[in-house]
Symmetry: D2
Subunit: 123 residues, 4 copies
């Protein structure tokens, strides 16, 4: 199956935009999410450990995310999770945790905004 995931978090840096040889815009950014959990022993809410993701956006979402988002911004991201093993030319290996985003927006829990509709679509 495809694992879908939704993350509310904060951008760890600015959005990087590249265009592939075939003309496909791809935007990427780092995303940090820190869970709150209830500590039964201490009977209070505490911060858990932070999850870090690499988020990739494609096509119009890539261009609009690059034009709109910046480091530290609070966002809602929903997309498909990819857990990948990698090995570089030096023989080093690791695991990458990526989200191919389907939708991204500023989280209105933390502020207000404006919006300019581009292109066509339903609604």
């Amino acid at each position: 199956m495809t694992e879908t995931i939704t993350v509310r978090g904060f951008l760890g840096g600015d959005v990087r935009l590249v265009t592939t040889d075939r003309g496909l815009p791809i935007a990427t950014f780092r995303l940090a999410s820190t869970p709150r959990r209830f500590d039964r022993e201490r009977q209070t809410w505490v911060d858990g450990e932070t999850n870090w993701y690499s988020v990739a956006c494609f096509r119009s979402l890539a261009q609009n995310a690059h034009a709109t988002l910046g480091k530290g911004d609070p966002v809602v991201v929903t997309g498909r999770l990819k857990v990948r093993r990698w090995e570089n030319e030096h023989g080093q290996r690791g695991t990458a945790v990526d989200i191919d985003a389907d939708g991204v927006g500023h989280d209105l829990t933390f502020g207000t905004g404006s919006f300019v509709r581009l292109g066509t679509g339903p609604g």
Copy 2:
């Protein structure tokens, strides 16, 4: 358990804001989501039937959603699903499908925006 759900869709109307007797801001709006599915017989993508939700936002999210969102806007909403039986004073019964939102944002798939951070918080 609590069912968490994420919906990408469009506002079916404007956001209504009320404040309870105890001073809690609550914003509500209707949200429509139309799935795309691959029709194997016709070998093409087609629209499925639309899901309609009633979304409720609380506290700062209520105030900011009311100040920011309008009818027809594309949004990403994540929250907790509630499926409720109701019966009114005339004996009529029905089912309500609500989402108590944890995060809401304009979906940057469909446009660009600006954002003004309010209050305090991480990031």
Copy 3:
């Protein structure tokens, strides 16, 4: 988009199995899920209100669910949410909340089991 949802809950009745004119097996059952939430005022965990779903299974999942599951069984169900308006021949209207299941299993939180693999597939 298509809203995916996962529910941990208990069967409200037995599984009903029908076969369509075209030979497609469809199994349906009622599923109840009761959330636990932390009550800040009372500083304790309490039961929330129960969500009720109608779950539909197709093909091999329909036949195996019918052969395996019974009323009261604890299960994990994952699938696609459908929120539908209906109107019957008497002019009555309502809302139905269905899950088209992709995967269903007895929840091992509550017991142990055995399993017999049928047919082919990966793994």
Copy 4:
């Protein structure tokens, strides 16, 4: 926030059960999930790359999963995603992708089973 995730996949090995000094049973297993995606150019469904997870179960779920599941079994797993940086005593660093499971069951898409309820609970 806490990222909840549901995975349908197959056990990559047997379940390992340990008990902590404080008497908490913990079961772990590897889980592989391979997405199917529609290839627009070739107009057909193809296998995507496999996601690998380390799943941890606690308390009764740990004991029952250990008693019930084996290598190659198809399962539905739902829980909380954890993406962790690690560094060992040799200075090597990496990323671990874990799921703390809330519910696990044999996926009835692939077979039939039996179930023995243990302990108490709703339903």
